[in-house]
Structure formats: C-alpha cells, structure tokens
C-alpha cells in the first residue's frame, strides 16, 4: 500500500512527463483495439455476407464439380442425392445448376456462367423473385459488377449462348429483370442467374443440379453418396485465411506502435533512475530494501499503463463506439481485394480483444519498466546518496 501510494504520488509529481507518456500509451492502446476491431469486423462481415449470399449452412457438390476448374464444369451436373432432394422439397436447401456459356452484351463476346436457381427459394439472400416472370424471353438476374462491366441495365436484352448436355450449341435472347447489389463478388462477376427449370430445359439437364446449398441453420447431409459435402467452415476457410494474412500485416504495425510507446516508458524510467538517485539513496537509508526500491520504480512505470488504459477508456470508448455505429466507408479498392464487405466496414470490439490488448499492454509496460530498475540491485546506498549512478 505504501509502495502504491508513493508510486502514485511520484507519478503525479512528474506532471507533464507522466501526461505525455500516458497519452502516447493510451493512443497505442486505442489504435490497437481500433484496428483489431476492424479486422474482427472484416472477418464477421465478410463471413456473414458469404453465408447469406453463397455458402448457406454448407453445400453438397456434384462429384465432378470444382469451382476452380472451368473445364470440368460441363460434366459437373447430375440428379441430387435423395437426402438433398428431400431438403430441396421442404425448402431447407436450394439446388443450383451451373452451365458454362457466353453472352454478347452490346455486340461483345464475354464468357460467363449461367446459374439456375429456383426463383422462390429462401435459402440464399439473392433477389431471385423477378426470375419468376412469365414469357418467352429468358429472365436473367445479374450483379452490379457484371452490369457495369457489360454496360447492361434492367430491361436490356442480351444474347446467351451455351452448350447443352448433348454438346449441342444453342443461343437465345435474355432480358435483364434485376440488377442486384451484393458485396459478394463470387455471386456477381461474370455470371447470370436464370430460373432453374428454364436452364434445365435449355441445357437438357432435367432434374439435375451442380450443387445444393443448405439453409443457414441447416447442415448438409453426410450420406450423399458420391456427392461431396462441404461444411460452412471449409467454404469460408479461404476468406478467413485472407483476413488472417491481413492480421499479420496489422500485427507489424501494432508491434511498431507498442515499441515506440515502450521506448518512451523505458526512457522515462532511465531518466527517473538517473535524476532520482539521491531519493533512491534516501529510501535505502530509511531502511527500504533494494528489491522494494526496484519494485517501487517498476510500479511507477506499470502505473503508466494503468493510467493509459483509464485514459484510453475515457476518450477511446465513445470514439470506438461511434466508429462501430457509423462504420468506415470503403473505397472501391476494398472490393478488388476480394472481401465481401459492401460500402461500409463496421468494426466489432469483442470483450476478448479489449481484454487481451489491455493485458498485453500492461504486461509489456511492466516488463519495460522493470528492465532499467535492475541497476538498483548493484547500486551502493552511499553512491546513490551522493547522486552518483553507481
């Protein structure tokens, strides 16, 4: 208690020096929490958007389906296994048929994927309702990125070409009935969504699908025969590893920030030991053991960390809370990095992130504060009283 009181008084006595150290440390604390919150927000927001628009609760893939092998796509279709058909029937899964094709927007050739989906499905958060339009023209739904790249808008007509199950090439005009805004590029870029039964008819693939997507709260069945079950975690693994790779880059910045703050604390401690040698000698003369004197100086340094956390909480909490509410407006560049984030990134500050940052900061501050005090162990009281470094 005596040590704490003396350390506290010494800190207050140091005035501006303490204030500056606390400011620098608290800025580091807030900056680290803010950027960790951004990463966590990026992780959660991307995963949520992917789950809602593409991944669902998991997927069942046709044995030949490989999203990274366009050449195998022509063969990747077949009747879904019975367990999947039951899920499709009760609305807890949606079948998707993928057929490679080409379309000719404004006279230009552009390869794309034709994806058939039930217009009434509720499994994925895609605006497939307008695909239920009647008429001879094929209704198609495209994403805003594809629309922008091809110069298409709602109501435009575009020629589609595809190869059916027998290898016969066919072509028809299609009308854009909806342009969707989605943060998920992989349901937008170079693809057009059609009514499932129309595509099955056009491609001569009745009752077939390439993959089956389970609803968000449903796990795809394991007993799917040759069809391969892909869990939600497997399907999100790439995105999560992308976020992790960003986290490594961010960690370098934290280390630099922390290093600069710790340099300030270390300097303060060294200066303090140099300027207060006579005080150290007095404390020893009054009967304070060397270890206790070293503990006093370490405690003073560590209290900088405690004050920084308090200061950081005072101005950082409202600042970060507002940041979490308003979010961070993203430029178009974020879209090209492959993150399904939309226009705004909303940081997420979990208790775990704040607690770990706080603990890390306090531990590092205490350790850095302790390092210079080791000199006290070899300091002679007589040297200290004379104001010598020993």
């Amino acid at each position: 208690m005596t040590l704490l009181r003396l350390a506290w008084r010494n800190l207050l006595g140091a005035g501006t020096r303490t204030a500056l150290n606390v400011l620098v440390l608290s800025l580091t604390f807030v900056a680290i929490v803010a950027s960790l919150g951004l990463l966590e927000g990026m992780n959660q927001q991307t995963a949520r958007a992917m789950v809602e628009a593409e991944v669902g609760g998991g997927q069942l893939w046709h044995p030949r389906y490989d999203p990274f092998d366009p050449l195998a796509l022509a063969e990747a279709h077949g009747a879904p296994p019975p367990a999947a058909r039951r899920m499709i029937a009760d609305g807890s899964a949606a079948a998707i048929l993928v057929v490679p094709g080409t379309f000719y927007p404004n006279g230009r050739l552009r390869p794309l994927l034709l994806k058939g989906i039930d217009p009434g499905q509720r499994v994925l958060a895609l605006p497939t309702g307008p695909l239920a339009a009647d008429g001879d023209e094929i209704p198609i739904l495209i994403g805003q990125r594809t629309a922008r790249a091809c110069g298409l808008a709602v109501g435009d007509t575009v020629t589609l070409q595809w190869r059916d199950a027998a290898g016969t090439i066919d072509a028809r005009d299609a009308r854009v009935v909806e342009v969707m805004r989605t943060p998920v590029q992989s349901v937008d870029l170079n693809q057009a969504w059609l009514p499932l039964e129309r595509l099955r008819g056009l491609a001569a693939m009745p009752g077939e699908a390439t993959l089956v997507v389970a609803a968000r709260d449903v796990v795809p069945p394991d007993d799917a025969g040759a069809w391969r079950s892909r869990s939600q975690d497997e399907l999100l693994a790439d995105v999560r590893s992308l976020v992790r790779s960003k986290a490594v880059g961010a960690a370098i910045v934290y280390v630099l920030l922390l290093f600069l703050s710790m340099l300030a604390i270390f300097d303060t401690q060294v200066l303090s030991l140099f300027r207060r040698r006579k005080e150290i000698g007095t404390l020893m003369a009054l009967g304070m053991p060397r270890g206790t004197v070293a503990a006093l100086f370490t405690l003073e340094g560590a209290l900088h960390g405690v004050l920084a956390v308090v200061a950081g909480a005072l101005y950082g909490a409202p600042l970060l809370a507002r940041f979490a509410r308003v979010g961070w407006k993203l430029s178009v560049k974020a879209d090209s990095y492959g993150f399904a984030l939309g226009d705004t990134l909303y940081p997420v500050y979990s208790l775990r992130v704040v607690a770990l940052t706080l603990l890390g900061l306090l531990l590092v501050t205490t350790f850095v504060s302790f390092l210079p005090t080791r000199r006290i162990a070899s300091l002679q009281p007589t040297e200290a009283l004379r104001g010598r470094a020993g």
Partner: protein, 233 residues
C-alpha cells in the same frame, strides 16, 4: 540504557579504488560510543567523517577491521539485514535534508513507520509527537517545497527520531543553513538527546555546531587525531 556500549570500531580501515591506485579514507580507527552520547566527528573535507558515518549507519562496509553497531557486525551484514538495522534502529539526517518532495511533512515523517508496519493510530500519534518536538505540528500538511531550509531540516530530524531509534547519524546537518537556523537545529537535537536519550553522532566542520558537542572526535587524513570530552555550550 544511557552509558551502555552502542558502537565499537576496531582498527577500521576503508579504501576506495581510484584507477590503478586507491585512496585510504579511514586508517585504523578504533572508537567506542556509549548510548546517549552527543558526539561529533570533526575535521576538514576529505578527512573521512562521512565515510565513518556511512559505515556506522550500515550504508557502507569497512575494507579492514570491524565495526559493531547495536551488536551487529557491519562487515558481515547482508543488504537486507543492513536495511533492517537502519529501518529499526538508526535515524539519518542529511546535509540536503533529503525529504521526499511528493509527500507532505506529515507523510515524510510517517514514512519510516510505514516501513515498520506500525498501526495507523499509533503512527499518527508518533508523527504528531515528533513534529511537536521540533515545533512544526502546524505545518504537517505542507510540502517540503513550502518550507524554509531550517524547517526542512527540522522535518528531517522528526523523521529521524519518529521511530525512537537508538542512534541518529547526522551528516553535516547545518551546512546548508544560516547561523540562526543552525543554532535552532542543533539546539533541537540537543534537547531531543536529553529528553529521549537518543545517541546523536554528527559529522561537521561547523564551529557553531562543535561548541554544542559533548564529545569531539577530530579526524585528520582518515585517522583519529583527538578524542575530547567536555561540557557542551
């Protein structure tokens, strides 16, 4: 208690390395101090007064010979045991007062009792008693920076006596004070020596202090040149 053997040094020598050679600060000093003495180590600068005082206060150790303070052999004490000896039995008064600037007068005087883990009520009583003895009870809430040099030294005296030590070592206690304050400070210490029976040993070359001493030990080049007892002024 008064008259009992408190300190005994036997052929005490202290050497300090100085580059390739060494400086001999004390040469075979043999002395005895009894409880209740009001004694001074006098001599010019560099005569070894402070070195001897530091060894008697267990802040330093002899190079040769022995020093026994309150039954403890200084040369064999560990750092922790030496700190304990100072904490319990020895009070220090320094030339530059050495008060803790961030503490109030009361807290400065209270500090040795906190180290001794004395209960709060007893601490308060002891601190106020010590401050009253030096006439500074009304400045208990002041900070050292708000006091004059003489007042600071009287706070330092209070701090030295608050735990009722057997021995108070004062290193040039009046060197930073004017004549009037020197007079007040030395008179205060003399009164405390009389009232409490505490042994006071000074290092000084201040003539104003020397005339108050009941025993004067003159050091020249680290050796005892004279050891005189006589009535104080």
């Amino acid at each position: 208690m008064t008259g009992d053997l408190l300190i005994e040094t036997h052929e005490l020598t202290k050497r300090y390395p100085m580059g390739a050679s060494e400086i001999v600060a004390l040469r075979q000093v043999t002395l005895r101090f009894d409880a209740g003495e009001f004694a001074g180590l006098v001599g010019p600068s560099g005569s070894g007064k402070t070195t001897l005082l530091n060894i008697l206060g267990s802040l330093d150790v002899p190079s040769e010979g022995s020093a026994t303070v309150l039954g403890e052999r200084i040369e064999t004490l560990t750092h922790r045991r030496a700190a304990e000896l100072r904490n319990r039995h020895i009070g220090f008064i320094f030339q530059t007062f050495n008060l803790l600037p961030v503490y109030t007068v009361f807290e400065n005087v209270e500090f040795p009792l906190l180290l001794l883990k004395v209960p709060a009520a007893e601490r308060r009583r002891a601190v106020m008693d010590a401050l009253e003895r030096v006439g500074l009870a009304d400045r208990a809430r002041s900070r050292p920076a708000q006091l004059s040099g003489g007042q600071c030294q009287r706070v330092a005296i209070s701090r030295a006596i608050v735990k009722r030590p057997s021995l108070v070592l004062a290193d040039e206690p009046t060197a930073n004070l004017d004549a009037e304050n020197s007079h007040n400070v030395i008179q205060t210490m003399g009164r405390l020596n009389h009232e409490l029976g505490t042994t006071f040993i000074f290092s000084t070359h201040d003539e104003k202090v020397i005339r108050y001493l009941r025993r004067t030990i003159s050091l020249v080049d680290g050796a005892v040149a004279r050891d005189e007892r006589g009535a104080a002024a």
